[in-house]
Symmetry: C2
């Protein structure tokens, strides 16, 4: 921001403080009154309280002042309502997008500052839209399965209506009845009809698209007090035939047979009882705004619907779930299609956090997130947050280890997050995640201090970067990023899980087995899958172990594979960083060769190979001036492949990052065991390397049967630990007794970590 703007904001803040002392005398104990306007995100009572507090609530005052500067400048500049023609990035797209954001802000400013110039700005723009809307044809760009009128897809038209409804609510009483009738008949109702009745393939779904559509219709319905339209929003367009084989542009099915529709279905189905959104946090972040802004409006206008109590308060739980799906820096974990770098600082998270605080019992942890965001919504929820911060109520939002179930009923697997020291391990054993899902059952990613160390590739897309396929999904998203080999999980016979088919993958989910995090010294997440490869059972157990002699915890990873048939198994390990050393002999190829033909293998180069024997292999690497070591148990004739992403990538769309693949051929049952350590640091300034080597001397499988798997970890401090997991009985109360090498181990519950005898 320019210096001048900052000064301006400061002056406005002072002005607000001085001129609103009057309002502060208003009666603050007034009764709640749900009728009239505004009543969506601002209420009449809320406006009074905001005006009474202006100048005393810095984070709110600052946001308000910045908004005023922005809107005043735009009023000065004038607006345009151009004939729609462009894709995103183009002039008409960006202008219509700017318009709805400005209308929402101007509406809010009118209520808070009670200056009619803001109401007039909204009114003038709305009348310009009303004059044109019915005349405009369907948007000329043909790419979408559901084309809008202002934008190339109904999704963006819905965005427009969600924001504009708020603006309309704010200036409702400023307009005459005739004016309202004109706007409602010439603009809002036909607009709502286009994205709903005229686009049931968009509206009647369970999908983030439909959520936006439902909410758009619902918001304008509330603004117009139209209960018929509200019913459409809440329950979908009725009596529409649909083709169950129809798909959207991302390859996702429009709808399953018998599936419920409308807003409540969109809350019920993708959210698990824990508040996990099945598409993953990247899309939850996007969908979070309409879910919560509409819930807020419903709560204000139709409190009898008790939307925040729906499904045992799942919408409020979703706020906590979403925040827990971010790393130490607030960046979201990569689950399914997701772009790296998206974080809790995204603007939609402002409303999410504020609404979560206001309606969700005033969790002081959310105030610390709001403080980091340095912004609040200019409404009742934002006021609550600003008052809470000003009263010094903020407390740190502590992220702990957490398991978030997937599926409408919470019985379709889960995401398990183990947090120990600076490590955050994200273990995925969910359902498919709708049309944005990846074929990566039982995969994981590892973060340390907010940096990805063992990566999930994320999506094959550069959102809104026009140079890369218009900013849309690239073909490599499907051919690479979604394929199993792009993830840290098992690939059988060089074919993706579920044959890489959405129809098949959508039918199944992995299953939780153990999630036990009560002790910091040993935390366990274990899960199973039996459907990724028919006839093959996968069981992965991921453990964080704190050795009292070392600074950092380490990860123990046990992947059991049991199959009816002999197969080739690949387990890739996408370490990020520069290889320092491998303790096994590998041979670099004279030039990279393409690793395979399909299922993502065609995008990998083979750079080096090794054939190893019984024992361990170690890979030591450096990332962000930290030393890491991967130690894996190998058996004779295991193959190691050093691969690199980037083959068959004609436009350099992929990042040329490395992987180590541990390959077992002609094997029925396989056991992959490894550890991942963060053990040392390097400083390029002092040029000192500290603890550059692994602390682990050896890992060994000392027992493996259908019932139990036992791993011994010997460390350089001449200590030895044994971890045993019961493979078939996860009962916490069950007692076990197992003799290994003449040592008797007895314990209660599904696992034990003990010092070696």
């Amino acid at each position: 921001m320019a210096f001048q703007s900052r000064i301006l904001i400061l002056l406005i803040s002072l002005f607000l403080f001085s001129c609103n002392k009057e309002a502060s005398k208003a009666n603050m104990a007034q009764e709640q009154d749900n009728s009239g306007h505004p009543s969506l995100i601002l209420t009449k009572q809320g406006v009074k309280e905001i005006r009474a507090n202006l100048g005393r609530i810095p984070i709110f005052d600052k946001t308000l002042a910045a908004t005023k500067v922005e809107v005043d400048a735009e009023i000065q500049n004038g607006f345009d309502v151009p004939l729609p023609k462009d894709y995103s990035g183009g002039y008409t797209h960006e202008t219509h997008k700017k318009n709805y954001v400005l209308m929402q802000k101007a509406g809010v400013l009118y209520q808070i500052l009670q200056d009619e110039k803001y109401a007039k700005f909204v009114k003038d723009m709305l009348f310009e839209y009303a004059k044109e809307y019915l005349k405009w044809p369907i948007h000329p760009k043909p790419r979408s399965y559901a084309r809008g009128k202002l934008f190339w897809q109904c999704l963006n038209d819905s965005n427009w209506l969600v924001y504009t409804s708020q603006a309309y609510d704010c200036i409702y009483n400023y307009l005459s009845e005739d004016e309202r009738n004109t706007l409602e008949n010439d603009l809002f109702r036909p607009f709502a009809d286009h994205i709903s009745k005229d686009s049931p393939q968009f509206f009647n779904r369970v999908h983030n698209h439909a959520t936006w559509g439902n909410v758009a219709v619902g918001m304008i319905a509330l603004a117009m007090d139209d209960d018929v339209l509200l019913d459409r929003a809440l329950n979908g367009v009725k009596d529409v035939n649909f083709d169950p084989s129809e798909k959207d542009n991302d390859g996702g099915y429009i709808r399953k047979e018998g599936q419920k529709i409308g807003f409540f279905a969109n809350v019920n189905e993708p959210f698990s009882p824990d508040g996990y959104f099945t598409e993953g946090p990247y899309y939850q972040r996007y969908a979070s705004y309409p879910f919560l802004i509409f819930a807020q409006a419903l709560e204000n206008k139709k409190p009898e619907l008790k939307v925040f109590e729906y499904k045992e308060g799942v919408l409020l739980k979703s706020v906590n779930a979403l925040l827990n799906l971010s790393d130490i820096d607030g960046e979201f974990f990569l689950l399914n299609d997701s772009q790296k770098g998206m974080s809790v600082f995204n603007s939609s998270l402002i409303a999410t956090v504020d609404i979560g605080y206001h309606f969700g019992g005033n969790d002081p942890g959310l105030l610390s997130i709001a403080k980091m965001q340095q912004e609040v919504t200019l409404d009742d929820a934002g006021l609550s947050v600003a008052l809470g911060i000003e009263a010094g109520k903020a407390k740190p939002f502590v992220k702990k280890s957490i398991e978030l179930s997937d599926g409408a009923n919470g019985d379709e697997g889960a995401v398990g997050i183990l947090r120990s020291g600076g490590l955050e391990l994200v273990f995925k054993y969910t359902a498919h995640g709708l049309s944005h899902g990846h074929y990566d059952k039982l995969s994981f990613a590892l973060f340390e201090d907010g940096n990805e160390v063992v990566q999930d590739y994320g999506m094959g897309r550069f959102v809104n970067i026009e140079q890369k396929g218009g900013g849309n999904y690239l073909k490599e998203n499907k051919t690479w990023a979604r394929q199993s080999i792009a993830h840290n999980t098992i690939v059988q016979n060089e074919a993706s899980q579920f044959k890489g088919k959405y129809d098949i993958g959508s039918k199944y989910h992995a299953n939780k087995y153990v999630f036990s995090v009560a002790q910091d010294s040993v935390q366990v997440a274990s899960a199973k899958d039996e459907n990724a490869y028919p006839g093959t059972k996968l069981h992965r157990t991921m453990v964080t172990i704190r050795d009292e002699d070392y600074d950092n915890p380490y990860v123990l990873d046990i992947m059991r594979v049991s199959s009816d048939t002999s197969n080739q198994y690949d387990l890739p390990f996408y370490f990020l960083g520069h290889i320092m050393q491998a303790d096994f002999e590998y041979k670099k190829l004279p030039a990279p060769e393409v690793l395979g033909k399909s299922d993502g293998y065609e995008h990998l180069y083979k750079e080096a190979t090794a054939t190893v024997s019984d024992g361990n292999i170690k890979l030591n690497w450096l990332r962000n001036n930290k030393f890491y070591t991967y130690t894996a148990v190998t058996v004779n004739k295991d193959e190691v492949i050093f691969g690199r992403i980037g083959a068959n990538d004609p436009d350099f769309n992929l990042r040329p990052e490395q992987t180590l693949i541990l390959r077992k051929k002609n094997t029925k049952d396989a056991l992959y065991v490894s550890t991942i350590e963060s053990h040392g640091t390097y400083s390029p300034v002092s040029e000192l390397a500290v603890n550059a080597y692994s602390h682990i001397k050896q890992i060994e499988v000392i027992y493996n049967s259908n019932e139990y798997t036992a791993i011994q970890v010997d460390t350089n401090n001449n200590k030895s630990k044994v971890f045993i997991i019961s493979n078939e009985n996860n009962d916490n109360e069950a007692t076990h007794k197992l003799t290994i090498n003449n040592n008797v181990y007895t314990w209660k519950g599904p696992y034990i970590l003990t010092n070696n005898k």
Copy 2:
């Protein structure tokens, strides 16, 4: 630092303040007295002043308190003087290194705190060394051309003596004459003899090794008041035969015929009159400590030598030069062998900055660097800095565009640094840089906001990371990092400049042509080379241009090649980041192929190729969320190669980064013209791309002769600029007149930038 340590430091600071009020009454106006001890880095008068100011000089107090905590803990632990046997990283190496650092610190603590336990610690350790030194053999590790006794190379033995001399000076008066005789006869004199008389191949050189050696002998000579030994330090070991074909382990010649030796020769020859150190800033940083610490000791003890006035004050100028060779974040530019990330925060820069301030006229800019370093030396110089900071004298150290000449007489080329906006362009037209030089005449690197955008690869070495070749130079340093193709400069016929031979490269240097930075809107650095390829003349002109309509300046790069013969020319462009778009059609190879056979080409993969025609090519890429575009003039049948580093790299020692090579075949005279823009930004949080595309519509060569080259740059704001350089006359007073396309251009001086007519 642990919390406990911080508390301890705080308490000690308070203690120092209270118990030294006594000392503050001491007479501060005493006469300077150079006799007696301490007199190297601390003087008797300095100690008095330090003691008088303790508790009032926070940066000094903090450093002192931290040093006390560290040394106290080590005194508690006891010390070891083990029989030498290891390379760096090993126990005996690290222990002897720790010992000299501790002795220096304990000596200083003894003087400042006047607590005899510190003197006793130094004395006990020195006597342990004295007991063993004569008995120890030459160090058993054979790798060095000049083996030490405590360490595998005399270099490290010299480090030991430089530090230990300071400790000896501090406790000199604490020892009896007998004790001093024992130490001097059994330890210091034989130690000094080993690294000098017994190792003339190390001592009698002009090289950073010899600098350490000379200074080590000089420091102990000053501590012992031994003028004979001091003469050896200053002027070398006399009457030693040497073999002019002898080389060190890095392939550098030991010495040239007729070359002067000793400390003054080591100041005179590698430093240009501007204070540029011919090996480059990475090694200057390393050599800076001995140069300046010895200069400080000489100034204190032998002020009649006027060391700081030597060569018109070059040692003080070198401090300014070194700081100017760092980017916005203080990281050094990569010139010759250098590891990325080395910066002004390196400990040797503490002494450099403090001594530079104390003896160099108290430049307030240096205080701001010292503040960033958060540490001072515990001596007279550190006191000066601490007092200056406490008095609020610090001012920003402003880095401007600067040309630093190379060569003892300043006539062997230069480094030209153009700074404009956030851009820092480093253009290299120096001499070879001794044994650490690269074959990269007229190469450049570009930084923006402290991030490298167009890179110099740096060295093929991971300093002190044992996993990578013991932390020493890797063979890829020679086969890749030093070769011409690894740099952003011309390679003729796939052979490195000067045939990649040190003997040849060392004979020549490039020549300055123009360095003109008075106007921020157009800054020009231009240089020539006629020796890299006999029969071929290179002339490169690099310009930063500020277009008033755009936020950022851009770089215009004109490389003229004129040869007696037809050749193939390659000009690589090592952009860092992810390719967003190229505006020409290229074809990715099914799999990468090795680009060539030798001279570094064997380390590059060819990933994609294009044949282009008359016009421009554009490459648009993203780096650190900024968009960049390279636009280059091409002529018909020019080839474009997308390459990647990493071929013939069996141990993954190289970073797999990308390059674009513009290749011209069968060409006598070539003209490469390009622009580099930083024009836009991306946010992964808001997912907004701003100014993602180049602002440059077209660049065109509108005139090119032996006398003049004229480039027209058309921008998207429908403006057009013309830059003309006079190729043969760089006289600032000369007037020129040139007609191009019927437009007459007249100007004074070697170049003009004008709006197109």
